[in-house]
Amino acid sequence: MIRVQAMPFDPGGELNTFTASVAGAGAVMSFTGLVRDVSGGLSEMEIEHYPGMTEKALGAIRADAMGRWDLADAMIIHRFGALAANEVIMMVATASRHRKDAFEAADFLMDYLKSRAPFWKKEVTKDGADWVAAKDSDEDALTRW
């Protein structure tokens, strides 16, 4: 399941729904990413995306994970729009018969989401607005897979 939305969502509720849908899996991993107020003065984080391409990219990343690991299912939910500090940005969940598969697939999904899904983050503070720069390490992380 892939979802791209402006609306907030409930990670706990999503985890339970996902877990209920993968009966027999045994191992369920989740990763939740939240807005960090690194500078201490964040007014909001704006997340821009590329409608259409985003869904395609997330679908391709999910399909890639499903092919590489023994997964019962994999889920990606990602928000866009204006978010406040500590709001949930995104969530990934994986389910497998094997813990190792669930772990590695979640790690893979996060790495690919970071550098291959068309989202851009802008931090808005009282002093202005700055686009978050991609890290070389994020791109390098893809060579692990």
């Binding site: 391409m53 989401l113 899904a117 989202f119 851009w120 686009w131």
Partner: protein, 81 residues
Amino acid sequence: MQVMYFAWVRERIGLPMEEVETQASTVQDLVAELVAREARYEMAFADTSALRVALDQELADFDAPLDGVREVAFFPPMTGG
């Protein structure tokens, strides 16, 4: 051809998308045409190594051909997750 801009590329060029009439055969040729137009394009495309391009919503290289492409998008490296 529809040309789209995201994040600071969009901000520098000042619009999210536009229809472009072009005979450019590659992305790089299209960039050269745009840069020749106005300073704001020149500024946005000053360093294409800091940019990414998608053709019909798939990541591509700057030397990729534009045959049959309907939608070109330029943007900085992505910062999802």
